[in-house]
C-alpha cells in the first residue's frame, strides 16, 4: 500500500513537471540559474548512487583489492570512458564481477 502511494506521489510530481510549461506557456519562465543547475542533476545524483555501491561493502569503506565490485566497477568505468557503449559497459562489468567472485 505504502509503495503504491510513493509511486503515485512521485508519478504525479513527474507528470506535473512534464505538463508545466505545455499548459502554462507564456505565464512561466525558467530562471537561468535553475537551467544551469538542472544540467548537473543526472551526473551528480547517479554518481552519488553508484560510488557507494563500489566502495562500501558490508557498511564500511573497502578500498582493498579484495573488493570485487570496486575492481569490476573500475573496469566498467574504463570501458564506458573509452567506448561510450552502454551494453558493452554492463557486459564487461558483470563478466568481470563473476570472474572475480569465482576466483575468490
Amino acid at each position: 500500500m505504502k509503495v503504491w502511494l510513493i509511486v503515485l506521489a512521485a508519478g504525479a510530481i513527474t507528470f506535473a513537471t512534464r505538463l508545466s510549461f505545455i499548459l502554462l506557456f507564456g505565464r512561466l519562465a525558467i530562471p537561468p540559474w535553475l537551467q544551469v543547475a538542472l544540467r548537473f542533476v543526472p551526473p551528480a545524483v547517479l554518481t552519488a548512487i553508484f560510488v557507494p555501491e563500489l566502495v562500501i561493502r558490508g557498511g564500511a569503506l573497502d578500498l582493498t583489492p579484495g573488493n570485487d565490485r570496486l575492481l569490476a566497477g573500475g573496469l566498467a568505468i574504463l570501458v564506458a570512458w573509452r567506448t561510450k557503449n552502454v551494453v558493452l559497459t554492463i557486459l564487461v562489468g558483470m563478466a568481470s564481477l563473476w570472474v572475480l567472485q569465482a576466483l575468490s
Binding site: 509503495v3 512521485a10 508519478g11 507528470f15 544551469v36 551526473p43 545524483v45 552502454v86
Partner: protein
C-alpha cells in the same frame, strides 16, 4: 502539408533505434525492482505511472535500502526536474492543440521522445501535424518500456541471487554518467557528488545521497559560472 498518417509513421521510424537501445534498460529495471523487494505489480506500476527510466532505477534502489517515503519521492522528483526544460522547449509548438492532446503528450514526454520530437519541430517549416509524430514516438517508447519491464520481471524471478544482478544498477549508472563527463564542470559535479556520498554514507534516512547530489550540483554550477 504532411498527413497525420505520414507524421505518425515518421515518428515510429525515427524512434525505433532508440526503442531497441532501451530494451536492456527495461529488462534490467525488471530484475532490480524484484531484487529490491518490490512486488511485480508495483514494479510494473512504476513503469506505467512514473514512466522515467533513471528515476525508476533510483527509486527501486532506495526501496531496497528501506529509505523513507519522503526521501524516495524527493529523489525521484529531483531526478525528473529536467523535464521542466523539455516541457518549456516543446510548449510553443503545442499551443494550438486541444487540452486532451497536451495532457497526453505531456505524459509521453520522456528524454527519448523529446530528443526525436524537438528535432522534428526544429527541422521543418510545417508543424501542423507534427503532434502525430510526437504521439507515435512517445507511444512506441511507452509500449516497449512496459513490455521490456514485464519480460524483466518474468526472467528476473528465475535468476538466483548468486548472480549478483543488483550490480547492473551501478553499471548502468556508470554507462550513463561517464561518457557524459565531457567538460570540467560536469566532471567536478560527478567527482564531488561521489566523494561526498562516501563521506556522508552513514547519515540516517539515506540523506547522504541527497547531500552528495546537492554538493555535486553546486560545484557544477560554480565551475560553469567561473568559466
Amino acid at each position: 502539408m504532411k498527413s497525420p498518417r505520414a507524421e505518425f509513421l515518421a515518428g515510429l521510424k525515427a524512434v525505433l533505434p532508440i526503442v531497441v537501445g532501451d530494451i536492456p534498460f527495461g529488462l534490467i529495471y525488471g530484475f532490480i525492482a524484484l531484487e529490491a523487494g518490490l512486488s511485480p505489480a508495483a514494479s510494473q506500476g512504476m513503469s506505467s505511472i512514473l514512466f522515467a527510466g533513471s528515476a525508476q532505477f533510483v527509486s527501486a534502489q532506495l526501496f531496497g535500502l528501506s529509505a523513507p517515503a519522503s526521501v524516495i519521492i524527493a529523489t525521484a522528483s529531483v531526478i525528473n526536474l529536467r523535464h521542466l526544460l523539455y516541457s518549456a522547449s516543446v510548449a510553443p509548438y503545442l499551443q494550438g492543440l486541444p487540452s486532451r492532446w497536451k495532457w497526453l503528450l505531456a505524459y509521453l514526454l520522456t528524454d527519448e521522445a523529446y530528443a526525436v520530437t524537438i528535432t522534428r519541430y526544429q527541422e521543418g517549416e510545417d508543424h501542423s501535424q507534427a503532434h502525430w509524430f510526437f504521439l507515435a514516438s512517445g507511444a512506441l517508447l511507452w509500449a516497449s518500456w512496459q513490455l521490456s519491464t514485464a519480460i524483466g520481471l518474468f526472467l528476473g524471478a528465475m535468476v538466483p541471487e548468486s548472480w549478483s544482478l543488483d550490480f547492473t544498477v551501478a553499471l548502468t549508472f556508470i554507462a550513463l554518467v561517464v561518457p557524459a563527463l565531457r567538460d570540467r564542470a560536469a566532471f567536478g559535479a560527478a567527482a564531488v557528488a561521489g566523494l561526498v556520498s562516501v563521506l556522508a554514507f552513514g547519515l540516517p534516512f539515506k540523506l547522504g545521497l541527497f547531500i552528495a547530489a546537492l554538493a555535486g550540483i553546486l560545484i557544477g554550477v560554480g565551475l560553469e559560472v567561473r568559466r
